[in-house]
Subunit: 311 residues, 2 copies
């Protein structure tokens, strides 16, 4: 993984992937801009805080995964799969952003820097930050409910997102994380925590993108297996970057895990073994896609990108 | 309203209503008990906090409204309408409970007493309280998504709940409330704030109960108008009780609004005019039900109960 980690995005996947990412990010930003309440609508301060947190920042890994998974339905570069994945991309990113806002609050991680900017409670205030997170979660479900898709599909998506955000997913993982500070975790416990805290929503992004676009059952199952492996790989790379990265490259405080005595893949396995585990999960994610044809190309490229990222 | 405010529940509506309330509350508690993750499942502390906040306390006004509205579909005391309203009752109450947990946090109202017990962040800790609220919101949408109803109905319910919980509803009202502390509000601004903060979710409970049970369009429209009037009346009575009640009768800190310099109906209109406005909204709520037959009986009785309550 180490040579991969050093390679810039362009070298990994070439101009076509780069262009695909750029176009999907532009699509996402426009959709998010429109979906969020305007900054001048009352309560304006709350709306400004939501937009501050949700717009114009972040790697948008979850939206990109949703867009890539939507291509499994076929149609390649056509608009249909992307349009179907629109609402999914917004909903999973809004849930992710809400969790970041709450996670950064003084009663949680007490962090002041996120996506290269002051965190929401620093730029606004704690109460507004909490409400902005609360409102973004409601917004996520509103977006799914109001998607121009068959009700049966929207219900499946809503159920998937609710489970991924619940105590069997993201919220549960964060609670285990809280309880784990200063404790020695086994590698199994650590993996369980990360699968819930980060993996559940990443995997949901992939599966929901495929389902929303109408991919067949075999493709959805392959996407789900890919999402599970890649979701965990993502978090291990995060742990590695927290040790190897800088605040400047990450856009958030570096070296926090060790300082806060949090169990991570690096603290439990060591740096080399953590990287090896990420590489293994990378291979597992690609193997899950093996039965699929070129429609899985963007998912393959995203796996390389996610495991190889340096920020 | 003053004589109504002094009358106990039994005198208002008689034994049949009393028995109906008891049976629906028992139904609700059993359903909530089953719907929430077990207290011994990991992350146990988070699950205990969610159950501590959501079980065995509160007036359950929103669930009762949902059950009463479900009877508009006909079937009287039959099980069908209640079963259909089950998920609605759980979902709206989970959203309500999450908002109470977050509202009580130090960065918001900083309160230590709720439903006669220490607030969640006092009984557990701030981080657990925040996560318990976050998880209860996700749980609310999970319950709706997994209801045994047609997908089209579940989608309508999900959309209604998401809007009621959003910045155009509950979260928006709380943000306006925050911004209003120490400011002079006009009666229109105050009404708008209360309609969003409390009214939106109460009105959603009524409308969602009617929709879930399959009430016809005229009944749903009547229920919606009833819910809007009663939702505002509920908050005015809350403002009155904050002045006239005691911590013992309320199960929460009394006299808070004045101490925190919050604008309320009492501070803006005075006590007598606030009571008169509640009585007027009570009449409006009943007038909205006028076209409906005996199926609206429980909604009528609940209006008397809600406006006449002393806690």
């Amino acid at each position: 993984m180490s040579e991969v980690a050093a390679a810039p995005l362009e070298k990994l996947a070439g101009a076509a992937f780069d262009e695909w990412v750029r176009s999907r990010l532009a699509l996402f930003e426009r959709a998010a801009e429109e979906a969020l309440p305007p900054a001048d609508r009352i309560p304006a301060r709350l709306h400004r805080a939501m937009r501050y947190a949700a717009l114009g920042g972040g790697k948008r890994v979850r939206p990109l995964l949703a867009f890539a998974a939507a291509e499994l339905a076929g149609g390649g570069e056509a608009e249909r799969p992307s349009l179907a994945a629109h609402g999914v991309a917004l909903a999973v990113e809004f849930v992710h952003v809400y969790s970041l806002i709450h996670d950064d609050l003084p009663c949680m991680d007490d962090d002041v820097l996120r996506r290269g900017k002051p965190t929401v409670h620093v730029a606004f205030d704690e109460a507004t930050a909490m409400l902005a997170g609360d409102a973004l979660q409601a917004e996520a479900f509103r977006v799914l409910a109001d998607m121009p898709l068959a009700a049966e599909l929207r219900m499946q998506l809503t159920s998937m997102l609710a489970h991924a955000a619940s105590t069997s997913g993201m919220c549960g993982g964060q609670a285990i994380d809280l309880a784990a500070v200063g404790r020695q975790l086994t590698i199994d416990e650590l993996e369980q925590m990360h699968r819930m805290k980060t993996g559940a929503l990443l995997a949901a992004a992939v599966r929901m993108g495929a389902v929303a676009a109408g991919a067949d059952a075999a493709a959805v199952a392959a996407a789900a297996a890919y999402g599970r492996a890649l979701g965990l790989a993502f978090q291990i790379v995060d742990d590695v970057l927290d040790v190897e990265g800088t605040a400047e490259s990450l856009g958030k405080t570096a070296g926090k895990d060790a300082r806060e005595n949090k169990p991570t893949y690096v603290s439990v396995l060591g740096l080399a073994a953590a990287k090896a585990r990420a590489a293994q999960l990378h291979r597992e994610a690609l193997a899950a896609l093996a039965p699929l044809d070129a429609r899985a190309r963007r998912l393959r490229e995203l796996a390389d990108y996610i495991v190889g990222r340096t920020s």
